[in-house]
Amino acid sequence: MNQIRLVTVAGPPSSGKTSVITRMIESIPDWKRTCGVIKFDCISSLDEEHYRSRGITANTGIAGNLCPDHYFVSNIEECLEWARAEKLDTLITESAGLCNRCAPHLKDLLAVCMLDNLSGINTPLKTGPMLKLADLVVVTKSDLVSQAEREVFRFKIQQVNPRAAVLFINGVTGQGADRLAAAVQAGGKISDAAKMKLRFPMPSALCSYCLGETRVGEDFQVGLKRKIQL
């Protein structure tokens, strides 16, 4: 089976993932023919149309009432098969975290986290494993804030993930996107989905609410539960 370069891109909603990925693919001539994107989202997504309108091969997975990261893991094997059928050599998966508890990042494959410089100075400290376990952190919208805010934001990212490279990319003009393209093209490849491992374990159904319970109250709470300390 031929090898496919797989890259996980994760970041909060509206952080600029789609724009940056589009700019990145467009920064290399002819890459559109062999680089595709799968978007994982919870409720709905218009991004597939956005990619297709730019001539980029794309598909969407809607997680519905499942956690998008759990949905991602249970479907990544099928996504690789789709990429093979489309004759892609690079597959980018794009997902917005739901609760910041999980991360789609896989061992030995490039993991990218995307954060928005406008989203508040403590965002890096709140983002969890999708930032902490990333190889590369992309910061968007930094052209709109002061140099000092950019520097402090980078500093906060490095408190959480000291080993990651930090790239400031302008998703509107594409400035810096070629650097991301170079990192992606140097990323790891995989042929057999069964050999992939998550970098961070995901909790399975924790409590009755994971299983669809809607009633509130102690009597209906089964499974793992933790009470708030007030």
Partner: protein, 342 residues
């Protein structure tokens, strides 16, 4: 205060955090607390269950810690840049560029050329220490030699500080707290002194004064720009400062330039303003993505600069005339509006 990486890893964390408050944030991000343990002892004290829950291993956590502490030490060692040279590559048509560009601390260089001509690309090449790996195939030399890979990876993206027209402060903090946070992220020992110096300088550069407890989001365009310039000059670490199309009103640009020169910054200005262009030592002309000429500002141009300055001063007088609520009724000529006509 020089420390080695080994010392940081084996000193009690509560001692280390006195000099490096960021340590507690790093620990918190990993679900750990400050204690009398050293970082290495802390990692050894954690149970297998803890590592399973955190999705990490002792080796990975130790490596993370070493990378974090190395980053703290790296931030202290400010490398002095004596020269930065952009060696010519190719323009958008694939033709070789006409010239290379040598930059030294204290130099002011303008970048001129129409929108889309490749000014941003030139800056990006400097920012990323290009080594023939960008579309222009330019190469950047530091202090006369090519930076090695480890220098490139640790300094890429940190060399150029930018101040542009569409930048704003977005944090909900006052001026003093904001600057202190920036200074502390740089581990400046005398952070409070530096902050009050920055506020004084910024007030000096901006016509309208603001206070230490003014929220940064309340500052006017001119005040914001003045504060950004003072902050970049005194707190920022980047050796190269890019000023991109800053409007005239509200900031004394000439004094701002003097400040940056005095702090040994390499100053680049992307501008179409003839006054600024002639105040610079020289200008690099960008055409079709390539550096096509470097023009030094000569004595003849400096003579003509005086005429421009007189024109500018008339405009400034007219501006303050209207700002003070006066009327042009009865004014015969716009030549001298500084007279006190009520």
């Amino acid at each position: 205060m020089s420390r080695t990486l080994e010392q940081l890893l084996c000193q009690p964390l509560c001692t280390v955090s006195k000099h490096y408050p960021a340590v507690s944030d790093f620990l918190a991000a990993n679900g750990l607390d400050l204690s009398d343990f050293s970082f290495e002892d802390l990692v050894r004290s954690l149970s297998d269950e803890w590592f399973a829950g955190a999705g990490t291993t002792p080796d990975v956590l130790l490596e993370d810690g070493a990378a974090f502490f190395a980053g703290l030490l790296g931030a202290e060692s400010i490398r002095q840049i004596e020269s930065l040279e952009v060696l010519s590559g190719f323009d958008k048509a694939g033709c070789p560029e006409a010239c290379s560009l040598m930059l030294k601390p204290g130099d002011v260089t303008c970048i001129v050329g129409p929108t889309g001509s490749g000014k941003s690309r030139l800056l990006a090449d400097i920012e990323w220490l290009a080594c023939g790996d960008t579309p222009t195939r330019r190469t950047v030399k530091l202090n006369g030699s090519m930076p090695d890979d480890s220098f490139r990876s640790s300094h890429s993206g940190r060399l150029v500080a930018q101040i542009t027209q569409n930048m704003n402060f977005v944090l909900d903090m006052n001026v003093s707290d904001f600057l202190l946070m920036h200074a502390r992220s740089r581990y400046l020992e005398n952070a409070e002194d530096v902050v009050s110096e920055v506020i004084d300088i910024a007030n000096d550069l901006s016509g309208e004064s603001f206070r230490a407890d003014t929220p940064v989001t309340f500052l006017s365009g001119g005040q914001s720009r003045a504060l950004m310039i003072a902050d970049v000059a005194c707190i920022g670490r980047a050796p190269v400062v890019l000023i991109d199309e800053i409007e005239n009103a509200g900031t004394d640009k000439r004094r701002a330039l003097e400040l940056l020169i005095q702090r040994d910054k390499i100053v680049l200005m992307a501008t179409h303003d003839p006054l600024l262009i002639l105040q610079a030592d020289r200008r690099v002309v960008i055409r079709n993505g390539g550096m096509s000429a470097i023009l030094a500002t000569n004595d003849h141009e400096r003579q003509l600069l005086r005429q421009l300055e007189e024109m500018d001063s008339s405009i400034q007088q007219a501006r303050s005339f209207f700002r003070s609520g006066k009327s042009l009724t009865g004014v015969e000529s716009l030549g001298n509006l500084s007279d006190n006509r009520e």
